[in-house]
């Protein structure tokens, strides 16, 4: 699919800001998350949202699907969900004969733009495995042929409160996500008051229905995303800095990082993978473009560092239980210890 010739990257940036503005009408106090979702859209990466129950993860993703345009499919993760349930649907027709219909993944064909996997950690590893394939290759094999989804973006959410009857995503699946976003309740008292007393927020369907549809022509996003990656320049200094940031996540002790109560040399089992490094750079370039720059600066890397890197750093089992506490401090220290330029 070709980008329309008269739509420059400047126009696209304008549209991206409109996209953010529309999302902001449905979900208030989540400007940072909205910006990162815009980054994910223009970096063509999948995103995993995590947060407490009822903080607006699903609302945000439904709003995104409407504003993004293209076909939208949603599935709920349950413990008895099997991979086949995503691919096909069998039933007995009225005439008593069995019938097979395409499942949620297949029925939209190439128009499938947003696939929303709700409560992904309730699904079994078999489902995760299928998801892995879909996310990595944007294709699935069924009925002796391969189905392709060139515009597909997977958004998944996971609530962090309940752990019973859940299956933690394997490292390989998490590595496929461009970013993991933490959605928290707005801290601002006025925003909390609006969420509580403004009737607009009581009816989510009406709230989502009031948003403009298809602000971004989804079919052109792949080409625009490639243009953005070519458009944003990287100097030797920023390349060196980005490489060192990633190296510091693998060997924080070498950069003088220290954490309270942690033997730093034994903290990290594996740091950012080469795929993760590429995703960090893709996301950072989009962040720079959204800021109106054509050159990458350290702040762009910082803007997406936590969300693109935190879920790719794996701790020694001794420290894994303290992940939530340690990962933020570790990345903050990495930012503070790696010199730039």
């Amino acid at each position: 699919m070709q980008t329309s010739t008269d739509a420059t990257l400047g126009d696209w940036r304008h549209r991206a800001l409109e996209f953010e503005s529309e999302l902001g009408k449905a979900v208030i106090g989540q400007d940072h998350a909205i910006r990162l979702l815009a980054v994910a859209v223009f970096a063509r990466g999948h995103a995993l949202l995590e947060g407490d129950v009822g903080v607006g993860k699903t609302t945000l993703l439904r709003a995104l699907a409407r504003v993004l345009g293209g076909d939208f499919e949603r599935i709920e993760g349950t413990v008895d969900l099997m991979p086949n349930d995503l691919v096909y649907h069998t039933y007995i027709k009225e005439d008593g004969r069995p019938a097979v219909e395409p499942g949620p993944l297949l029925k939209h064909g190439e128009r499938l733009a947003t696939f929303f996997f709700n409560e992904v950690n309730r699904a079994r590893p078999q489902v995760h495995s299928l998801l892995l394939r879909v996310m990595a290759e944007r294709s699935v094999t069924a009925f002796n042929r391969e189905y392709r989804f060139p515009h597909l973006q997977v958004f998944a959410d996971r609530n962090r409160v309940e752990k019973e009857e859940t299956f933690e995503l394997p490292a390989a699946a998490r590595d496929r996500f461009l970013m993991e976003l933490n959605i928290a309740m707005p801290a601002d008292a006025e925003l909390q008051r609006q969420l509580m007393f403004d009737p607009r927020f009581y009816d989510v369907d009406a709230l989502i229905g009031g948003l403009r549809e298809g602000v971004l022509p989804f079919a052109e996003l792949n080409e625009v995303a490639a243009q953005i990656q070519r458009f944003v320049r990287t100097s030797p200094a920023i390349e060196r800095y980005a490489l060192e940031l990633c190296a510091a996540t693998r060997a924080p002790a070498d950069y003088g990082v220290t954490l309270d109560g942690v033997e730093i040399s034994k903290l990290v089992l594996s740091g950012v993978s080469p795929r993760g490094m590429g995703m960090l750079m893709r996301a950072a370039k989009v962040a720079a473009w959204l800021q109106g720059r054509d050159a990458l600066v350290p702040e762009d890397l910082h803007a997406v560092l936590h969300e693109t890197v935190a879920h790719r750093v794996f701790f020694h089992p001794v420290y894994e239980l303290r992940r939530d506490e340690l990962i933020g401090t570790l990345l903050d220290q990495v930012k503070g210890k790696v010199a730039a330029p």
Partner: protein, 270 residues
């Protein structure tokens, strides 16, 4: 012709070296005669006196012109052998252009006195000055004050011994100076900017970015006075390293000046 002549002589006694005294002559001349001012005496008169150029006041009274001539003398020399000196006579000339005549102002004498009392050969103080008392304590205090003053000047100039080895901006200033002297090929401007970045990082205890400058100033309020030049430096560094690589807009001297000002702030002098 001369109709009147009156001379008021000065006091006749009690003059010391340097004193001035005046002799006043009043003379009335009938028209068409007038006083010849060019012929009035002035200058050195003998060994003792100096006569200033006389001041002449005149007024018309019918066909008479009345002149009042002020002769001011200064005593410029005295001698123990002379208690009295002569004030010489003067001749006043009047003329109508063709004919002229003279009037004599008679001489007089005045008494002069030496500055020192009569009978003493030389001037001596009444009492010998008291000898200064030698006070070892005061000597020690003065010595200590002198050492402290020298030490304070040395601190202002160089800081504490060894301190510059641990203060980031002192190190940066020294390295910048060395870099300037070497003037080696390569990315000298980039190296200089990096040195200053390391000084900021060491001061903050973490890498400082333009986005974290507010936190830096909040934690290190003593640098707040340099907020504008520091912000300018970070903006330039970003442009140079990450954007267009242009080093024209930021002279090396400005960088050196910034580092020296930061070094002074670091030592509590800013």
């Amino acid at each position: 012709m001369v109709r009147e002549l009156a001379v008021v002589q000065p006091r006749g006694f009690g003059y010391l070296l340097g004193d001035r005294f005046e002799r006043t002559v009043t003379m009335a001349v009938r028209a068409p005669y007038r006083l010849d001012r060019e012929a009035l005496p002035s200058g050195r008169l003998g060994d003792w006196l100096e006569l200033a150029p006389p001041r002449v006041d005149s007024e018309r009274d019918g066909e008479l012109t009345r002149y009042v001539i002020h002769f001011v003398y200064q005593l410029i020399n005295v001698d123990p052998g002379f208690r009295e000196i002569a004030v010489p006579h003067h001749e006043l000339v009047y003329t109508d252009g063709t004919d002229s005549g003279k009037v004599l102002v008679p001489a007089t004498r005045v008494g002069v006195t030496m500055l020192r009392p009569p009978g003493s050969d030389s001037l001596q103080p009444a009492h010998a000055p008291a000898p200064l008392r030698f006070d070892p304590t005061r000597l020690w205090i003065c010595a200590l004050l002198a050492v402290a003053a020298v030490a304070a000047l040395a601190w202002l100039r160089w800081g504490l011994p060894g301190g510059s080895r641990t203060r980031p901006f002192a190190i940066a200033a020294r390295e910048l100076a060395a870099l300037g002297r070497r003037a080696v090929a390569g990315d000298v401007h980039g190296d200089a900017l990096r040195m200053v970045h390391r000084a900021f990082d060491a001061t903050a205890g973490r890498t400082v970015f333009p986005e974290t400058l507010d936190a830096f100033f909040a934690d290190h309020a003593r640098f707040a006075g340099l907020r504008d030049p520091i912000t300018l430096y970070f903006a330039h560094s970003r442009r140079y390293f990450f954007e267009d690589g242009n080093d024209d807009a930021y002279p090396y001297a400005e960088l050196v000046d910034l580092v020296e000002r930061c070094r002074d702030v670091e030592r509590g002098l800013g």
